[in-house]
Every structure is written in C-alpha cells, then in structure tokens.
C-alpha cells in the first residue's frame, strides 16, 4: 500500500506533462492537468492509508 501510492503519484505527473505536449488548447490542457492532479491525489491518499497505524486490537 505504501509503495503503491507513491508509484501512482508520478503517473499523475506524467499526465500533466502529456497535457502540455499534446493539447495546445488551454481548456483541454487545464482539464488534463486537473486529471493529473487527481491521480496524484489518489496516490497520496493510498500512501497515507498505507502509513496509518492500526488502532486498538488490530495493532500487533
């Protein structure tokens, strides 16, 4: 979980780079960049969950 999230985050970054290279139109570019940021956000959420300590009886 920890590393999966951190591996997803660069995918979002490369989406933003692709937006720059592929779309000259500002509106499409902005939409693609926002999608890239959403992917980065999802990766961050997964990484955060992977690092959270289990509470109560679940903790070893």
């Amino acid at each position: 979980m920890k590393y999966a999230g951190l591996l997803v985050m660069p995918a979002g970054f490369f989406l933003t780079i692709a937006a720059l290279a592929l779309f000259p139109d500002p509106a499409r570019r902005l939409a693609f960049v926002l999608c890239g940021l959403a992917v980065i956000g999802m990766g961050l959420v997964v990484a955060v969950r992977g690092h959270m300590l289990p509470r109560g009886a679940e903790r070893p």
């Binding site: 920890k2 951190l6 591996l7 985050m9 660069p10 995918a11 979002g12 970054f13 490369f14 933003t16 720059l20 290279a21 592929l22 000259p24 500002p26 570019r29 902005l30 960049v33 926002l34 890239g36 940021l37 992917v39 980065i40 990766g43 961050l44 955060v48 690092h51 959270m52 300590l53 509470r55 109560g56 903790r59």
Partner: protein, 444 residues
C-alpha cells in the same frame, strides 16, 4: 486532426549563456544587504524546531540545526550549485514534443567561476545557499526526539546535492517550469519569487517522508484512545523564533522579488507590506480558530499560523495587493490548526513542529493563490503544473532516496536512546543540566 509531435527524448549537455548583468549597483547593494538579513528566518526556524521538541532533546536539536546547515552548505558548494545551474555554463536538455526541456544544470563543480560570474548570478547563488540551509531545517524539526543526527546530516547532503538543485533549476535557473510561458504560452511560467516551492514545499514534503520513515515518537499513539499530547518544552523560544522569522522573511521575499520576479525597487515596500499582512491575517485567523475550538488561543498553533502566513506570502507577496495578501494569509491561518489536528488525530502523523502543514500545505496554497492573483492570463495553469511536479515527481523521489538511506544509516534512534533523550544519547550532555528531569508519564 493535428499531428502529434515526436516525443523522443535526447539528453544533451548544451552550453547556455551566462545571464547578462542587468542589475544596477544600487539594486545589487540592496539585494546583498537583504540577503545578509535573510538568515534571521533560518535562526527563527531553528529556535522553533528546538522549542517545539522536548527539553531532553534540546541541545541535540540546536546542534543538529547547525550541523545540517553546515553539511548542506558544503555539499551544495561542491556539487549542488553545479546542478542548480545558476552560474550558467551548461545544462541537460531533453528534446520533447518539439520543445527544449531544461531538466538539470551541469556547470563547473566547486563553484568554479563564481567570482567571474555576473553580479546577478552571484546573488542568485547566495540566495540558493540560504534556501538550501532553510530546506534542510524543516524535516529536522519534524523528526525531533527520534531522528538521529547522523541520519539528519546524510539526508541534508542528499537534499543539498540533488533534490534542491533539481527544484532550483526547474524554477529559478531557466528550467522547464520557468520556461512554461515562453515554450507553451502558459502564463509567465511557474512563479515562485520567495521560495514557496523551492524551499517550503520541498522542506514540508521532506518532513513528511522523514516522519513516515522514522515513525512516531514512542508513546505518541497508544493502542487505545487518541494520541498523547507532547507539548513543546519552550513556548518563548517558539514565539521569539516567529518574530525573528518575520525579519528574515521580509528580507527574503524582497530579495526574491528583485532576483526572480525582476521587481523594480519602487515595488519593494509593497512586497514587504504584503508579507506582513499575510502573516498578520494568518495569526488573526489561527487565534480565532483556536479560541473558538479550545476556549483559549493556543500559543503553539498560533505560532504555526503566523509561520504559515509567512510561507504563503513567499509565493505571491511580489505581486498581490495588501488585501489579497491578508486573504491569502487568513486562509492559511484557518486551515493550519485544523490540518495539524487532522494529521495527528486521524492520520497518525507525528510532526512535532507541524512543518508538513506549515511549510508543505501553506506553501502549496500560496502557489495556487499566486495563480489566482497574478496579472498574467493562464497563470493558474502554470502554478498547477508546478504543484503537480512537486507532488507527483519530487515527493516520490525524496521518499525513495530517504527510504534507501534509511537502510544504510537508520533514521530512528534505538528505544533506549529515545527514553533517555537525544541529548544524553547522542551528544552526552543535556541542554539544561541544572533542571530536575521529570518522569515521562507516557512510558508507564
């Protein structure tokens, strides 16, 4: 349908011209004077780092502040300045989609050619030295009471030798983020005159990596119930550190405005006023939020709010109005105490100084606010691309490098050392040898 341009990268080292010396003597002298005042911000952060840790780790924390700055300065002088590329000479360029993407400087090592460089380039290198000193202090505060000094120093070397120069080149030294405007018509390129991204977001993300890798302090998150409160040992250090930081930040933001935003001298009082307005708005907001939530204002969180306002101002003080700065600081001041609470209580993140929120989150907010308030059209897109680069590329890179380093030089002190305190364990003497040491209730 438009033909998709070729995307085959090719790495080459291309000679680039040294920036022209366009600075007047007066501007040079003023910028140098401001940069000599800017270390006050570093001193302030060092005091905050020490005051928010425990008394039994205070000497190790303050020695660590000095040691990390020393290591960072040496490594940056040896290799980092070359990769940052502010002295010109050469850079590594990828040819992608028909455009040049400058990804890393590749100048002479050991600051060779510094004395012969243009005055503006010399000031840029000095600014980068101060910036890297600030960056390495931010994770040091977050790792307080359990991060070993040796691991802190090696982490500082990694930041100063590779990660910071990469960021500095992209944003300040003609890299692809600063060229977004000329290459792709996206605003004026990524704007970061005061180092919100290069210094604070980078430091905040490094702090998050350190906290995750080193883990929380022993007893911080018990099996049952919420987290244990571990307040800082000296609120006076923390609040005085905030005052020192204000002096340094005024100098830092105005010097950055001259160097990176090419602001005229007549615009500098406005930049300084905006910095103060942002900090003031943030403090007022944090004071109100903590007063509302806890019945009384919280000194430590108010200090965090003040600093978050200063951090947010780093991104946009050069071109916002005072009222806009007040708004930017106010928003930072509202979310800072709430996010500190969420990170600790909901996400099990033990960050004694709050650097992840204060520097990371407030820096990101400042960068996005700069996109909203900058006069150029399309600036928000440029800022969002910069944020994506920081979160999507720089953060995983830092985490990977620190995780590898942790295998060679373990980050976390052994349990015995953590129990007796970092002062006795690491440097053999306490900061307050005449004080009675109280028993720590969290170890029962």
């Amino acid at each position: 349908m438009n033909a998709i341009p070729p995307m085959i990268p090719a790495a080459v080292a291309t000679p680039i011209p040294v920036p022209l010396a366009t600075m007047t003597d007066a501007a040079f002298a003023l910028t140098l004077g401001l940069l000599l005042l800017a270390p006050m911000a570093i001193a302030g952060v060092a005091l905050i780092n020490t005051g928010l840790g425990r008394s039994r780790s205070a000497a190790q924390a303050m020695l660590g502040n000095l040691a990390l700055i020393a290591v960072a300065a040496i490594v940056f002088a040896f290799v980092g300045a070359s990769f940052a590329g502010s002295l010109g000479s050469a850079e590594i360029v990828l040819h992608l989609a028909g455009k040049d993407w400058s990804v890393l400087g590749f100048g002479a090592f050991l600051l060779h050619g510094l004395n012969a460089a243009a005055p503006q380039s010399q000031l840029a290198v000095l600014f980068e030295f101060l910036s890297v000193a600030m960056v390495v202090l931010l994770p040091w505060g977050s790792g307080a009471d359990r991060w070993r000094l040796a691991a802190g120093c090696t982490s500082a070397a990694i930041i100063a030798g590779l990660v910071f120069p990469l960021d500095a080149h992209w944003i300040w030294a003609g890299g692809w983020l600063s060229a977004l405007g000329t290459n792709f018509g996206v605003g004026a390129g990524f704007l970061d005159a005061g180092g919100a991204a290069t210094v604070h977001v980078l430091g905040g993300l490094s702090a998050l990596a350190v906290v995750w890798i080193a883990g929380p302090r022993r007893g911080k998150f018990p099996k049952e119930g919420l987290s244990t409160a571990m307040p800082g040992h000296n609120a006076t250090y923390v609040l005085f550190g905030c005052l020192l930081a204000l002096v340094g930040w005024l100098a830092w933001n105005t010097a950055g405005a001259i160097l990176w935003a090419h602001a005229p001298l007549a615009a500098l009082p406005g930049t300084a006023i905006n910095t103060l307005m942002s900090a003031s708005g943030a403090l007022a907001a944090t004071y109100s939020v903590t007063r509302f939530r806890f019945g009384k204002p919280d000194a430590s969180l108010c200090a965090n709010g003040w600093l978050a306002g200063l951090v947010a101002s780093s991104a946009c003080a050069a071109f916002t109005s005072p009222v806009e700065s007040l708004f930017v600081g106010g928003v930072a001041g509202v979310f800072t105490p709430l996010l500190v609470e969420v990170l600790e209580l909901a996400l099990s993140i033990d960050d004694p100084t709050g650097a992840i929120t204060v520097h990371g989150a407030a820096g990101l907010w400042g960068l996005i606010a700069a996109g909203f308030f900058a006069p150029q059209p399309g600036q928000l897109l440029a800022q969002l691309i910069g944020v994506a680069a920081l979160l999507g590329f720089v953060f995983p890179l830092i985490y990977l490098l620190f995780a590898l380093l942790n295998r060679l030089v373990p980050f976390r002190v052994d349990p015995d050392g953590e129990r007796m305190g970092m002062d006795l364990h690491e440097i053999g003497g306490g900061a307050y040898p005449e004080f009675v040491i109280h028993r720590d209730e969290s170890y029962r």
